[in-house]
């Protein structure tokens, strides 16, 4: 490992002593170190992903087997402690026979969406990775505002606690879907005089904290990228990872406030009885509500989707960010079209603010505005395609190492492709009118975020795990994680397109059992399912409902597939194979120049960026990678006089 800055124990030792010993609680809990905060975010995010996935399993059971008791409920109930928690969270809402009802299904649906988006993917994909990796990649010692960074995590933590607490509230968590559409979400249930004893109020408060955390975090990220780049790290030498995270920071910064407005106004509707989102003459349960009216539910949708469309890119851009490191590193090829990707990214971010109303075609928007939003929506697919294509072309001619992160990375490409392409028809209002709120839409966005983003996040976890812990995650277990995940994801989401086009509505808790016209519908996929089932001796009906069973089977496969990952993740921290160098993947970006794991302050030499971030397989270079921090082969240059820096940014970011 000639090229890597190998770990110098003596130096490291001296470095450690320059700091006084910190108490455990300040070092690992209330830490201001960006790496610790990143890991805190990432682990919280992973736990919430698991929790959200568990909610989805319950839902899928109800869809496939409506009215049938959830298996294992009695077992869970009988475990002391766990049983109590389960009973208070879900059990009390179950039917007497242990099956799900619509009420619980709605709660699960709303919380699944909320948790996956705001508490799973964004904390892991954005906050986790950006905090851990970005300051290392731009060669600085920490984020610009370390204390705010800590505050951001703890705001987020408060919002997590509140969101979980909302399960235990008297009336249960929200039931209105993750979008919280008014007027349904603005009116309180008739019997609830105490609005604070209502899960919805807690949801809104939790979101106010979550949004505040996001704002603090994104101010920090953007400032750090702007002002703390190392010497020589000009904008166009910055890894695409940092570019993407920089842009995500902007999206969060500018798109979240309107959601905060929506949450505050809805809170006012619920707590103070105002009518922001309630039209005149609204009735509930046969009687006029005691409200003034005069508001508009459409206002809520505008405010909500003004956030929620950029939010889609907040979910997907971290995936591109991670893969822009994982793919070139494992294909041993430079990222193809780096500059084009950066410009596509900027275009994408800009356009993402101009497309939100394509979620609202069904609200009877004017034809002119509808046309406008159709045009921008089609336009925004162009930069998305550029990003995906560049990643694909980066594979061309590479000698690919199929380790676990690369498997996830390469699976991302077709999966995101399916998700993206199935979105195109939805851009047109005349198709959207038919497909709106069907499983087709569910399939579309889940292909984008589940086998899309989440696969990329897994790739990121496997990729940076050695840097964070000094140990590898097990590759065999990783592959055992990958294949069931890939199969499970596709078994769940592919049938959704078929069901969606047959008109299956997304909010049927019984999976359409009582909708005769859908239950009787057959096609090749149902027949295939029926025949495969018959082969194994199962009696699966030959109609659309059979696909529900396929999806539930897929969900179970996916669930089992996560077991190796969870085991691998926790066990590898202590018992994984140790890394032999600070740069185990032979990578080129600056985070691999630090000791492993990076100490407080990160770099042990004055770091400099001497070249672009993707110098793989450069001709005439002895190894197939040429790190950014080396002046010539195998030599980091600590004195820092860098004649090759074209830009005027020659000022140390490191003291």
């Amino acid at each position: 490992m000639s090229a890597a800055t190998t770990h110098d124990p003596a130096h490291d030792h001296a470095h450690d002593h320059s700091h006084h010993e910190q108490a455990w609680i300040w070092k690992y809990v209330f830490s201001t170190d960006h790496k610790t905060i990143g890991i805190q975010y990432a682990i919280t995010g992973l736990l919430f992903l698991l929790f959200g996935f568990f909610l989805m399993l319950l839902m899928r059971w109800s869809i496939a087997y409506p009215g049938v008791a959830v298996p294992g409920v009695e077992v869970i109930r009988s475990i002391p402690g766990v049983g109590f928690i389960f009973q208070e969270m879900f059990g009390r809402w179950l039917n007497a026979d242990g099956s799900l009802n619509g009420e619980l299904y709605n709660m699960l649906g709303a919380m699944h969406g909320t948790i996956m988006v705001f508490f799973g993917i964004v904390p892991l994909g954005f906050a986790g990775f950006v905090n851990f990796v970005m300051p290392l990649q731009i060669g600085t010692i920490d984020m610009a505002f370390p204390k705010l960074n800590m505050l951001s995590y703890w705001f987020f933590f408060i919002s997590c606690v509140m969101m979980v607490v909302s399960f235990f509230i008297g009336t249960g968590p929200v039931q209105t879907g993750w979008t919280m559409y008014s007027p349904l979400a603005s009116t309180t249930s008739i019997g609830v005089t105490n609005v604070w004893n209502h899960g919805h109020t807690w949801w809104l408060l939790a979101m106010v904290f979550n949004i505040s955390a996001s704002l603090l975090g994104s101010v920090n990220v953007v400032t750090t990228v702007i002002n703390l780049r190392a010497r020589g790290m000009s904008w166009m030498r910055m890894p695409f990872f940092c570019w993407a995270m920089f842009i995500v920071g902007f999206l969060l910064l500018l798109a979240f406030p309107p959601l905060e407005v929506a949450a505050l106004l809805q809170l006012s509707d619920r707590v103070f009885g105002s009518s922001f989102f309630l039209p005149t003459g609204l009735m509930e349960g046969g009687r006029h509500l005691d409200i003034s009216g005069g508001g508009s539910p459409l206002l809520y949708q505008h405010l909500f989707w003004f956030l929620a469309h950029p939010e889609v890119y907040v979910l997907i851009l971290p995936a591109f960010a991670i893969l822009s490191d994982v793919i070139p590193n494992n294909a041993r090829r430079p990222l193809w079209g780096y500059k084009m990707m950066v410009y596509a990214l900027l275009t994408l971010a800009f356009l993402s603010f101009l497309v939100w109303a394509h979620h609202m075609y069904l609200t009877g928007m004017g034809t002119m505005m509808s046309t406008y939003f159709q045009i921008t929506t089609v336009l925004i697919s162009v930069p998305s395609v550029i990003l995906l294509t560049c990643l694909m072309i980066s594979l061309w001619g590479g000698s690919i190492r199929f380790n676990t992160q690369m498997l996830f990375g390469s699976a991302f490409l077709p999966m995101f492709g399916i998700g993206g392409l199935t979105g195109l028809p939805l851009a047109f209002s005349f198709i959207d009118l038919a497909l709106h709120d069907t499983y087709y839409v569910i399939g579309h966005f889940h292909y984008v975020v589940a086998p899309g983003t989440i696969f990329a996040l897994f790739a990121g976890v496997y990729h940076w795990f050695p840097k964070a812990t000094g140990r590898f995650m097990n590759d065999k277990l990783g592959k055992l994680h990958f294949w069931p995940s890939l199969i499970g994801m596709n078994l769940i989401f592919a049938p959704m397109f078929i069901q969606g086009m047959a008109g299956f509505h997304r909010r049927w808790y019984d999976g359409g059992k009582y909708f005769e016209q859908t239950a009787g519908f057959q096609n090749w996929s149902t027949t295939l399912t029926h025949k495969i089932g018959a082969f194994f001796g199962l009696n699966i009906p030959d109609n659309m409902l059979s696909l529900n069973i396929v999806m539930t089977f897929g969900a179970i496969v996916l669930a089992l597939g996560q077991v190796p990952f969870i085991y691998n993740f926790w066990v590898s921290i202590k018992c994984g194979e140790k890394v032999k160098s600070d740069n185990p993947w032979d990578a080129t970006t600056l985070e691999w120049a630090t000791p492993t794991p990076p100490p407080h302050g990160n770099f042990v030499f004055d770091v400099n960026a001497h070249r672009g971030p993707y110098e793989y397989s450069a001709p005439s270079h002895p190894t197939d990678f040429f790190p950014q921090w080396e002046t010539e082969h195998g030599k980091p240059k600590p004195d820092g006089s860098d004649a090759s820096a074209k830009t005027g940014h020659a000022h140390a970011a490191h003291h």
Binding site: L253, P257, G295
Partner: protein, 449 residues
């Protein structure tokens, strides 16, 4: 090992960290208030009632504007003083700024308080009466001899909870003595209710019912006085509380007593036939005063603006059809002046204890469609008013806290590293100017236009 560029600017960007940070934060704040102002436009354009103009206390608003402008000047001056190392001046100016913030919030409190004490009642024909409720609005329900409750076996949003929803409305002095279905005599409290509840649930389980019923007969008739929002529904002989408990008895009184200080007839088709001038309420004398005022203003409007359409003048509509009552009996029929001076000051400026200045009217429930004090519930204007000014007030408090922190806790930094403190004050000042900037738009939009 310090973070670089906390004090001095990075040469290529020309900015120190905190300045980049605050501008990004302000950009996000722009979007926050942008969303709120956008909601304001959306609500105003879509409003189905005349949007209030000059209805708030303009004088207080003006004072607050001046206070904020003065504090904006002082904070930027404080920064300059610190740059010139005039520490005494700096401290004085910062103190002035913080005091300005306190003044602003005190004014705001007076403004809010006046609103909370003032009520508006919408009648069935669209008339809106404004005024004070000397006793609040409560429904009296007497001769209650029976309570019926239903307890769902499954956890549900609504279940009988008489301890929290019924007994606290019982008239003072009465003891809730009841006979159960088995003839046992009990005093209803948390313990006895829990006992009854579990017994009823057991019974329902045996009978395989989904809900358990519970009937209690009062030993002696009880009476309740309940705020309107705590009642789910009622008629002449039953009253349903918000927990679903039904009381059987007799409706004693559901009339509303209001000291009227304004009659807004803009929502009525034939203004002078408004229900407010019914003989049971304000009566003919006030109707005459209303007509006189309207005719007087009509003549004046035609004289001043002969070419304009009265129906399109919001000001005319407001002055002619929104009668302000400033005495217990109508003024002499000359009809000068009602619409003039009354606009500028807040209706509630009269305060609470001046019942003698306004006619008192007892409204029948059947004539009332909606009532509220001047809170977000009243209409979308007050909803957005309270949200915008409330959020702005929160920003004022936050900004003042930050500036006070620099003033009182950064003395050491002032002496040792004034450049760093100047950066802090500049950043805090930028936030403070932004708060001022928002108010510059808020003031005309909510108070004036």
């Amino acid at each position: 090992m310090d973070i670089p560029y906390t004090v001095h600017a990075r040469p290529d960007t020309g900015l120190y960290n905190a300045k980049v940070g605050i501008w990004l934060f302000l950009a996000s704040e722009v979007m926050l208030f942008g969303g709120l102002f956008s909601s304001y436009i959306f609500l105003r354009v879509g409003a189905d009632y005349p949007w209030p103009v000059h209805e708030l206390n303009v004088t207080l608003g003006c004072i607050n504007t001046v206070v904020l402008i003065a504090s904006s000047v002082s904070v930027v001056w404080a920064w300059a003083a610190l740059k010139m190392r005039q520490f005494g001046l700096y401290k004085g100016l910062m103190l002035f700024t913080v005091l300005c913030a306190v003044t602003f919030m005190v004014n705001k409190t007076f403004e809010y308080k006046a609103k909370f004490e003032h009520y508006a009642v919408k009648l069935t024909d669209g008339t809106i009466l404004t005024g004070h409720l000397p006793h609040g609005y409560q429904i009296k329900f007497g001769e209650v001899n029976q309570l019926a409750m239903s307890i769902p076996l499954k956890t549900a949003a609504v279940g009988a909870d008489p301890i929290n929803y019924v007994l606290n409305h019982l008239d003072a002095g009465a003891t809730p003595r009841f006979k159960t279905e088995d003839g046992k005599e009990i005093t209803l409290d948390a313990a006895t209710f829990a006992e009854l509840k579990s017994a009823a649930i057991e019974k329902a389980k045996v009978a395989k019912q989904n809900t358990a019923g519970l009937k209690l007969t009062a030993v002696s008739p009880l009476s309740f006085t309940v705020g309107e929002s705590d009642v789910f529904a009622y008629d002449a002989s039953t009253m349903t509380f918000r927990d679903g408990t039904v009381a059987y008895g007799k409706l004693a009184d559901d009339k509303m007593t209001i000291e009227v200080d304004g009659v807004d007839t803009r929502g009525v088709a034939v203004k002078e036939k408004s229900l407010a001038f019914d003989h049971r309420y304000l009566g003919e004398a006030w109707q005459k005063a209303f007509v006189a005022n309207r005719d007087h203003l009509t003549v004046e409007f035609d004289k001043n603006y002969p070419t304009r359409d009265k129906t399109k003048s919001a000001t005319f509509q407001k002055e002619a059809y929104f009668l302000h009552l400033e005495s217990t009996t109508p003024p002499a029929a000359e009809g000068h002046g009602n619409g003039h001076g009354a606009e500028a000051h807040a209706p509630a400026a009269h305060g609470d204890g001046h019942g003698g200045h306004h006619p008192t009217v007892v409204l029948e429930k059947k004539d009332i469609t909606f009532f509220s004090n001047f809170t977000p519930k009243l209409n979308t204007y007050y909803a957005i008013y309270f949200t915008l000014t409330g959020l702005h007030g929160l920003h004022v408090v936050a900004g003042a806290l930050v500036l006070a922190y620099f003033l009182f806790f950064n003395g050491k930094m002032m002496r040792e590293d004034p450049e760093h403190l100047a950066n802090r004050v500049e950043v805090g000042g930028l936030f403070w100017h932004f708060v001022d900037l928002v108010w510059i738009f808020l003031f005309p939009l909510l108070y004036l236009l």
